[in-house]
Symmetry: C2
Subunit: 337 residues, 2 copies
């Protein structure tokens, strides 16, 4: 494998000249430039970006820290992040966490040791330890689909879960449903758990004039298919007269539909199901899933754009963004008015 020195020797110029020639920098005659480029080509010379990074203090690599909760959600986010990174001539190092503190801190440290130019932190609470690490090491960072009440200096991009959940529940009410169950994440989860529960409760209270009973809600730990399936069975048992269910994720909604199929319960004729996220699979399901859309790819793109603004010191207009949600009507909710 040839280095800049090999090129210099063969071209009978200094390495400084080779550098200038290859990088199209001024201070180099066109003739020399051509000769150097030709020889570099012949030698199959490829610049060593590691060496470049060391001196430039820029790796053209950004890190992503993302929980493995849902690979379907993750892959949409990563698509968006990757698109913008590519535009900025950067690559991604994606690290998955199991939502446990050690792993996240390890990932943070690894990414920093690799001197990534910045980090996108996805769907996970920004704990004090993380924040301090980021601050101390001065790492550009943006939060995606999570937020940072306490650390206002870290910008975030997300949908307002409380509002979106309120709207989703209201949609079911508008379709004539009065007995509405909820399958949600953990109430201890301050990002995607509690706010969605509260939005649901508020809608029922304000627009149905009812206080939600405990049996109307099953909230597990995760947001996955299995959770949805299990929670559906549980919910049907404890609240058999329901006519509609709002699921706090599409994966859970698909799980619920699957469980319903096994039990011989028809969707949407017997029970209406409403999802949250608008993943690709929500249009692939049978029946196609009515859901509360988050603009997942757009959110990821926005977050990444902000990150590059910080990296490139265009801090001028760096601020958090609340993205709009949208109700997508498909075929899993029945109008029973």
């Amino acid at each position: 494998m040839s280095t800049i020195l090999d090129v210099a020797e063969k071209a009978k110029v200094s390495i400084a000249t080779v550098s200038r020639a290859l990088n199209n920098q001024p201070g180099c005659s066109e003739e020399t430039r051509k000769k150097v480029k030709k020889i570099a080509q012949e030698l199959g010379y490829e610049p060593n970006e590691v060496a470049r990074s060391l001196i430039n203090k820029k790796t053209n690599t950004i890190g992503v820290i993302i929980p493995e909760i849902s690979s379907l959600l993750s892959s949409e986010f990563i698509n968006g992040i990757d698109a913008i990174a590519k535009q900025e001539n950067s690559n991604l190092i994606v690290t998955y966490t199991k939502s446990n503190i050690v792993s996240t801190e390890e990932n943070l440290r690894m990414l920093h040791e690799k001197r990534v130019d910045g980090i996108i932190f996805v769907s996970e609470i920004l704990r004090k330890e993380y924040y301090e690490y980021i601050k101390r090491n001065n790492i550009p960072c943006v939060l995606l689909s999570t937020k940072s009440a306490e650390y206002a200096s870290v910008p975030y991009v997300k949908v307002d879960d409380y509002d979106a959940s309120y709207a989703a529940t209201n949609y079911l009410i508008m379709m004539g449903h009065k007995k509405i169950g909820l399958i949600s994440g953990s109430s201890a989860d301050p990002i995607a758990g509690n706010p969605r529960i509260d939005g649901y409760k508020k809608a029922i209270l304000e627009n149905l004039n009812m206080v939600v009973e405990e049996r109307q809600i099953v909230s597990g730990n995760g947001f996955g298919f299995d959770d949805g399936r299990d929670n559906f069975i549980q919910l049907i048992k404890q609240y058999p007269d329901l006519t509609a269910i709002f699921c706090a994720s599409d994966e859970m909604a698909i799980g619920a539909i699957s469980a319903a199929y096994k039990l011989g319960i028809s969707i949407p004729d017997d029970v209406s199901i409403m999802g949250y996220d608008n993943l690709k699979i929500s249009e692939m399901s049978v029946p196609p899933l009515t859901t509360t859309a988050q603009p997942l790819v757009k959110m990821a793109e926005k977050a990444t754009e902000i990150l590059f603004k910080i990296i490139n010191k265009k801090d001028s207009d760096v601020h958090s963004i609340i993205m709009p949600y949208q109700i997508i009507e498909r075929e899993s909710v029945k109008n029973i008015k």
Copy 2:
């Protein structure tokens, strides 16, 4: 951000000693080691892996080149790769290609400039250009879910598509089906296209004693949901008396099921559907999809293990692997015997 020099100065020792102390290398008193570690801690010193990589000629990073054909397939592969990489203390840089030649070569070049320790090349033909680039630059490389007839020096891990497809079709025959359609990828695709078509044809010929007619097959370009949906409609039109369809990917199978639902065709009562891959969504579908499983995660793990053998010069037992497929019976195929 402090460097090894800062630590050395504050500890009143040389940088050589700091290096030895922090890396737990011999030639350093326990007392000094403790002092250095304490000071490094105080300073919040984090080693710069870029500098390390430069001298060690090892970045602890491996590259993945993968087409975006199906993010569902991709994410299973990436999970497997990531698991082994993590064990080896490496991170992943994943690059997506749109299967066009320029992009793949660009990705290859970028990964090499970043001096990744090796590359996993997924689901894509290893063209002559790629192979030569890899050889010329001496990049450790393993192929995953694709192969390299011409370049035997590049090991691969895959399922035998021809055999698997033959077995899948035979399964339908064993279930009593005689009029079996095929929804496949392009016959010009020598990896996942043609072999699966041929396996299907062979099964029909040998075990049904029939020559496949043209109208029994619809082969598009991709393997996605939309392809499956569109091709199902087309196939039903040109071969209305079929009783079963073998789809060359799960995503296409789900697309077919979805189209059937819209047309009021019942799966599996009117038409049986068989998939290929065994993605996560195949158990999430309604009805759950009977399919031809590839051990996706295992395959990715194997490929990555081989890659690290090459990287670590344990070339002793590096060879390609054909992984076993398996028929997974769920509920989308009806026994009509």
